[in-house]
Amino acid sequence: MATKFDIEGGDIAWCPGCGNYSIHNIVKTALQELDIDPKNLVLVSGIGQAAKAPQYIKCNYFNGLHGRSLPAAVGIKVSNPNLVVIVESGDGCMYGEGGNHFIHAIRRNSDITVLVHDNMVYGLTKGQASPTSEKGFTTPVQVNGVLNEPFNPIAIALSLKCSFVARAFCGDVQETKEIIKRAILHKGFSLVDIFQPCVTFNKINTYKWFKENTYYMKDHDETNINKAFEKALERSPLPLGVFYIEEKPTFESQQRVYKNSSEPLFKRKHNVEKLMNLIESKRRW
């Protein structure tokens, strides 16, 4: 489907068959269906194969540092809450290098959507383990297999009462698109962990593997955090869908500066007279 976010021509740096293409098309379609204005959209990313996503889409973007997409996104959104801010990065960028920011950005509850391309391996650095790699997964560095427990972004997010928590699989286009649309529309920090195969470096977690090792939650109460936790801890098979939703005030809506006006910061100026008075007040005490 053609969208207003398409860029004519251009060279895409992803491997043929990469799950990134699928996520990319789903995101553009979702944005189109939500009728979002590209001029009002900022895509924020870090570094990695997934983090190149903004390069291939027509909108504003901030392609920052490895692991640091979330702080940048929080700064962007809170300085101008009228913007639609979507973060797109990989599992290494978001959960490894950016793990601390992941935790604290959830606590802040900025109204941003975070799409994590989770292929359980490092792509751009050529095939090392990622925080979400399964135990025993062998790589050029983890030659005897991964020893560490895999990072569970869903459970971590739930432990912080993340406002919107979901997991998707890029092979399921319709389901993933609907989850992403809900995530974008949700007011608050929305996490969508998206399984995707890495056709070059991960020969274990393939399209087939994801098909066989995932299922969609049925009749799941999205407002029940205990049930969500139970589901989050299931590993074989891995549940897909929306785990948890909690409506709560966003970081932006709680800022005092937006109490009386929703004008972004760039449209405001300090009152010089008020500042002079403040300085003058230091003459007395």
Binding site: L65, S79, H104, F266
Partner: protein, 564 residues
């Protein structure tokens, strides 16, 4: 008349109350005042001291001479630590109940600090007793003192207020009746001083940020930079400022860069260790050509170093931090008025040139307080943001290297910034020609950087000897150098790019002395690098305390005689 009073005690004994009230009382009486505290990195106990200088002329520098010293604790612990500042002329006041083995020529006076506090209602009121004694020694009108006490304590309950008033009165009356000192305490008061501004360095930087249009601050608390964060947080109720305490300094600066990207004017305030964590994002600012203002309040390193003390050892760190090659500007204000001005200017320069701008201060500047007549003029700032056209190029090649800066949703264009090398639109490229042009564009931005803050020359125009200093040593060097005839002082607020008028003075000086609060003469290295100038003598201090006026004066004497 120039009196210096030192109050020492443990953290938690209420020195802070005296340190706040006494200068205010003095100023309201028409006296010039300077205060600086040195303190340990602990919340309770230890040994801290505050110097309060009082004069009929403006005073703005840390000195060694101590005329009156009060110890809030029994015993000698604080006195021994301050030994080098106590001489035969010092009156040392300690509690009557205190045993002292203190052995100097200083005149020890035992006064009933703790028993008067108990008489007022609580031993905790010792600080109020001492305040009363200080005011009594100076024979300040008691009404002025009372007003201060009421303002400070009135919101803490009637009992506390009344008892503290009593404690102050008891202290005041005691010295009035019982203490004779053969030192000059009669001070000519100057009514215009009553209307002066009294503030700290941290406040001056914060107000400068506000004047520069700062409306976003994200930081992680770290001494001695935290005062700026708390000050801006206080002002955020009256001005539109978003204040966020980030999970770490990495987050703080990336958040600030995000804020600039969407049109805010953001500040980070930190110290060396915190700035070390920000360095990668400094490089990001260089690449995406984002403005950013970094208040770097130095403290002694390496690593955790001396967390609450002062040093000027991060100049070269600030200058060379960040991988890759990109421009930056470094300002180092020399006093409170300059701290205000530099910080205000930093926002304009950052915005105009789209580069990181440092305001390099230190604990000494942050924690000093003195009275002054006025701050520089504040104008409504103009920003450099443009409304974007449909084919907007964030990194458009221009003659001066500065591309008009748009922000998302302001205009019809798209604003794309990338930490990878990029083309004019901000999209990733590995085109060798574009790479060259982008590097050259970024490095061209400061080519026409006029001397925003020229080197400040103070002294005899026919000088033979020149002292050069930067940042917070300014006032100490000025006071120390004022009696030397052929000596002039050159103070640098703009450390990078170095101001062009500097070379004129370097060429004219027969002898040059660099005064720096660090061990390796970093300004000297910079002068060598930028001007090939290395014919200088050095004076360095790095024990964590600021220079004393006296020790600079001693060195200047030797310098003038050719002994160093």
């Amino acid at each position: 008349m120039d009196l210096s009073v030192v109050i020492c005690g443990e953290a938690g004994q209420g020195i802070q109350t005296i340190e706040y009230l006494f200068p205010n009382i003095l100023k309201s009486h028409g006296l010039n005042v300077f205060s600086y505290k040195e303190y340990m990195s602990r919340v309770r106990g230890g040994s801290n001291s505050t110097l309060i200088r009082i004069s009929d002329k403006p005073v703005r520098a840390f000195c060694k001479k101590t005329d009156i010293l009060f110890s809030l604790s029994p015993g000698d612990v604080h006195l021994l630590r301050l030994l080098e500042r106590i001489d035969d002329n010092t009156f040392v006041f300690i509690d009557s109940n205190s045993e002292t083995k203190f052995n100097t020529k200083a005149r020890i006076k035992k006064v009933p600090i703790s028993s008067l506090a108990l008489e007022a209602g609580n031993k905790l009121y010792s600080n109020s007793v001492v305040l009363g004694m200080l005011c009594g020694l100076l024979k300040l009108p008691f009404e002025n003192v009372l007003v201060a006490i009421e303002k400070w304590f009135c919101n803490k309950g009637t009992k506390v207020c009344e008892e503290n008033k009593k404690a102050v009165k008891l202290g005041y009356d005691y010295v009035y009746k019982n203490i004779e000192m053969n030192i000059e305490t009669k001070i000519e008061t100057n009514p215009s001083v009553k209307d002066h501004i009294l503030m700290s360095g941290a406040e001056a930087v914060s107000l400068g940020a506000l004047a520069g249009g700062c409306n976003f601050v994200s930081s992680y608390p770290m001494s001695p930079s935290t005062g700026v964060l708390t000050n801006l947080a206080n002002h955020s109720r009256d001005f539109d400022i978003i204040v966020e305490q980030a999970e770490d300094e990495i987050s703080a600066i990336n958040m600030a860069l995000g804020a600039w990207y969407s049109g805010a004017r953001a500040l980070v305030t930190t110290s060396g260790g915190g700035f070390a964590l920000m360095v990668e994002a400094l490089s990001l600012a260089g690449m995406i050509e984002s403005p950013i203002v970094i208040h770097l309040a130095q403290r002694p390193g390496p690593a955790t170093g001396l967390p609450t003390r002062t040093e000027q050892a991060d100049l070269l760190f600030a200058l060379f931090s960040g991988h890759g090659e990109f421009e930056r500007v470094i300002f180092s204000p020399g006093n409170l008025e300059q701290a205000f001005f530099c910080t205000m200017k930093a926002f304009d320069i950052a915005d105009k040139y789209q580069v990181p701008v440092f305001v390099l201060t230190d604990q000494y500047l942050m924690d000093m307080i003195y009275n002054f007549d006025k701050l520089g003029e504040i104008k409504s700032f103009s920003d450099y943001i443009v409304e974007t056209a449909p084919d907007y190029k964030r990194y458009q090649f221009t003659e001066n290297g500065i591309s008009p800066r748009g922000i998302p949703s302001h205009g019809n264009g798209l604003v794309c910034v990338d930490s990878d090398e990029h083309d004019e639109y901000g999209r990733i490229t590995e085109d060798f020609t574009i790479r060259n042009k982008m590097v050259e564009k970024r490095l061209r931005k400061l080519k026409n950087f006029s001397d925003e803050i020229p080197a400040e020359f103070i002294g005899n125009k026919d000088f033979t000897h020149l002292v050069i200093c930067f940042g917070s040593t300014r006032e100490i060097v000025l006071e120390a150098s004022k009696d030397f005839e052929n000596l002039a002082v050159l103070h640098l607020q703009q450390l990078y790019p170095l101001p062009s008028n500097l070379s004129k003075y370097l060429n004219r000086a027969k002898k040059v002395l660099l005064v720096e609060s660090n061990a390796t003469s970093q300004l000297g290295k910079l002068l060598k690098m930028e001007f090939g100038f290395s014919d200088f003598k050095t004076l360095n201090k790095y024990n964590g305390l600021p220079f004393y006026v006296e020790e600079i004066k001693d060195t200047l004497q030797k310098f003038m005689k050719g002994e160093i």
